[in-house]
Each structure stands twice: as C-alpha cells, then as structure tokens.
Amino acid sequence: MDVIRAIEAEQMKENAENFSVGDTVKVFFKIVEGANERIQIFEGLVIAKNNSGIRRTFIVRKISYGVGVERIFPLHSPRVEKVEVIRRGRVRRAKLYYIRDKVGKAAKVPEYIRKKEA
C-alpha cells in the first residue's frame, strides 16, 4: 500500500482544497488545442465533493442561458490550474443536490458571514 501512497503523493497538489461545498468558485481550466494552450474559466456553485486522495473530485454547477450546467473536475488534475473562491456559502449539508430542483430564490445559498471575535 505504501508504494501506491507514494505514487499518489507525487501527483497531489498541496493545499489544493481551499474551498468548501456551498462556495461560489472560479475554476481556471487549461484547454489544449493543438499547440495552443489557453485557460477557460468556469464559474459556479460547488455542490459536492467526492472521493479522497488522488481521486478527489468536485462538482461545479452554474446556470447558463437558463440551462443548468454541471461539470466534474478532478481536484488534482494538472489541467485545473487554480480554484478561486468568490463567495463563501453557509450550508448545512455536504451535498447540495436539492438545488437542482429549485429555481429562483430557493436555489440560492446564503453567504457565510463570520462573526467577529469579541
């Protein structure tokens, strides 16, 4: 098992998971077109994180021209350049699949506001 752990550790990014479920994020995703390489940004709500270790993935959902679009990104993929958090969300569950059935205000996640330390 240790051999496998060593192989996986080699490819894992450090501190890659700087966001949590419910956050609105910008994913900087590298796209290779022939010799060209450009970065595409996918912005949306993180509705789930799955698996662990090198297999860790997360699902980002956004509404594009009125249609819900979801993308699964492998967290440690070299093509995911970085993940930027735009807004922290206050959620009470680990998987926000219920959002798929909601529209309008019901599909919103309230912002997480940290209480000031007294």
Binding site: M1, V3, I4, I7, V32, I54, H76
Partner: protein, 206 residues
Amino acid sequence: MLGLIGKKVGMTQVFDAQGRLTPVTVIKIEGNVVVADRTEEKNGYKAAVLGSIDKKKSRCTKPYAGQFEGICEPKQCLVEFRDYDKEVKVGEVLGVDIFKDIAFVDVTGTSKGKGYQGGMKRHGFGGGRATHGSKFHRDIGGTAMSSTPARTFKGHRMAGHMGNERCTVQNLRVVRVDEEMQVLMVKGAIPGPAQSVVIVKKAIKK
C-alpha cells in the same frame, strides 16, 4: 523473451502530461536473481531461470535449497523464461529497468477464486425471465439433443468452480518504470488479488 517476476501491489490512477487520467496497476519487482542458465549444449534449449521472494531455509527441502547453493538465499518463486533476450549470468540480480524501452507487456497471474458459480456468471448465459409467471430464472437450459445422440457432449459448459486459475492479460501498455521504487505501472487490470505473484513478459503480439 524478456520477463520478470513481480508482485501485484494494487491499482491507482496517474495523470499524464496532457492531464488525461490513466488507470494503472502497480507491480513491484523484488530482486530477481538468475538462478540457472539453460544452454543449447547442456540442456538442448536456451532459457534463464529467475527466482524471487525469499523463502526460509528451514522451510525448504534439501534438494530444493540445493539449487540456490552458492548463488543466493532460497526463493519462493522459480520461473523459467525461454530464449531470454538479455545476456545474463548466474547470480545476477535483475531490476525493473529491463522494461525501460518496452512499450507493451503480457502479465500472467492466478485469477481471484469465485467459488462454485452457475452458468450465467461463469459462461455469460442469458438466463430466463424473472417475473410474469416464469419458472426459468438462472438455469443453464438444455444441454443436449434428443434420442440421437441421447447424451451430453463432453466439455459442455455448465456450473462449476470459477476463477483461481492461471490466466494472462496481453498487450498492457507500460505507463511508467520507476527504478527507485523498483515498480512497474501498466495500464488496466491484471489477474489476481493484491500481493499475489505475477509474471511480466514482453508482449508477444506487439
């Protein structure tokens, strides 16, 4: 034919330069020692005998231990490779680096035992309907013809013991060769459970 004895470590996944994921099986190569060299003059054919995985001397019979005398400690696993491509000397220790320039390999191992299984799982038979009054569910169906020949032919596929037999997966792509860890990574699955002994050979069809 180049080959080595290895141990299946398990499966994982690796990203390549383009960011594509490849499922890989990790095979550990543990000190393969050349135990004997079969030659045309002496044996009538060419081959190299490799041994791997230490075995306690107290667990060996004297004739078995005798094969290793003056070469190395007794080994659990002894495999003869016909027409070894590389020039080897008795006592030499081979590492995973001999697979460095090889793109495809065949892996032989003992598959996981599945126990006594029916025709559907063992041979992929279709079975019958589950519902709508059907009384034919997972049976194998007819096994022979009528009064001629009035018997079931030998070798007819039926229920029985499945798995735990030698089997080979051919043409697995070598993804990475790690000399530091003495580890070989091939794309896809190989037979047997983790920690089982496997024989890795250069692919014969590529």
